[in-house]
């Protein structure tokens, strides 16, 4: 069955990324679904990261590449005794995704908020990257 909310697994494991916080190398990582809107002066990115905790999200910017790594605690129901997985349709793991923004951005003013498993990033473009409207005067 095809699920609209199916996760895309990435090739890399969590420990191949820049930061490895002692998690086992076998942990899976996923490429979260993203929406991106250009508001002129800023770029807004929404990422579906269900299960991620707000204090374990790393956002880094290098040149015009924005990278998000959302760590997810493995908080699955206990499998013990007669309790076992009766269905296992999705796996739990970290979310990692990079975007090339195509603009210089003001990395000091990036605003990140997490709400109900959705991470919103408001990325202001650097002053030099915002196109200015030039009025043409007629003589």
């Amino acid at each position: 069955m095809e699920n609209t909310l199916a996760k895309n697994e990435t090739e890399q494991t969590a420990c191949e990324t820049t930061e490895c916080r002692g998690e086992s190398a076998s942990r899976r990582t996923f490429r979260p679904h993203a929406d991106v809107v250009d508001r002129g002066g800023e770029i807004v990115v929404w990422l579906d990261v269900p299960g991620a905790a707000e204090d374990r999200i790393d956002v880094t910017v290098e040149a015009d590449e924005l990278t998000v790594h959302a760590h997810v605690e493995l908080d699955e129901p206990a499998v013990e005794g007669d309790r076992k997985f009766q269905r296992r349709e999705y796996a739990v793991g970290d979310y990692v995704r990079s975007f090339r923004l195509g603009h210089e951005v003001d990395r000091d003013r990036i605003d990140a908020t997490l709400s109900d498993g959705v991470l919103q990033l408001v990325v202001p473009k650097a002053a030099s990257a915002v196109s200015k409207k030039i009025t043409v005067k007629a003589r």
């Binding site: 095809e2 909310l5 269900p50 206990a78 999705y90 709400s115």
Partner: protein, 140 residues
């Protein structure tokens, strides 16, 4: 028309549904497939989890009937305002429905649903009166 064609009422219904859908320009009759679910449980209880980021809890509906759990909801789509434009649009939106059958009947009175960090967790129990009872055998 093949005279030997077996009459299949379900096929007839499907054909009608398909015609209706075509008339209204919809893709084949069904809501988008619902979320993937994990179920961990035993004979008497189970914990069902589903990843449903960005939902309005008011629009999330969970119902239990006998051994069937139904999760319905809707994620609203947003429209960029004036001077804004989509650069990328991947997050699924719209209404969904997911039906999951469990290996036991669920007690609706003790069922619990919690939505946290975009993950829905249902704790489901088998009704007390349906749990098997041990009968001690008296020797006479």
């Amino acid at each position: 028309m093949n005279a030997l064609r077996t009459f299949n009422p379900w096929q007839e219904l499907n054909d009608v549904a398909e015609q209706v859908n075509r008339a209204f320009g919809r893709t084949p009759f069904q809501l988008p497939a619902g979320p993937a679910v994990n179920v961990v449980g035993g004979e008497h209880s189970a914990v069902l989890t589903a990843e449903l980021p960005g939902l309005d809890v008011e629009k999330l509906d969970v119902s239990v009937e006998r051994d069937v759990v139904t999760i319905r909801g809707e994620r609203e789509s947003t429209t960029p305002g004036e001077g804004e434009s989509w650069v990328r649009r991947e997050r699924p939106v719209g209404a969904f429905e997911r039906v999951v059958r469990l290996p036991f009947e669920v007690d609706g009175n003790t069922a619990e649903a919690v939505y946290e960090r975009g993950v829905l967790t249902l704790t489901l129990h088998r009704p007390e009166e349906q749990k098997p009872r041990r009968v001690s055998v008296r020797r006479v």
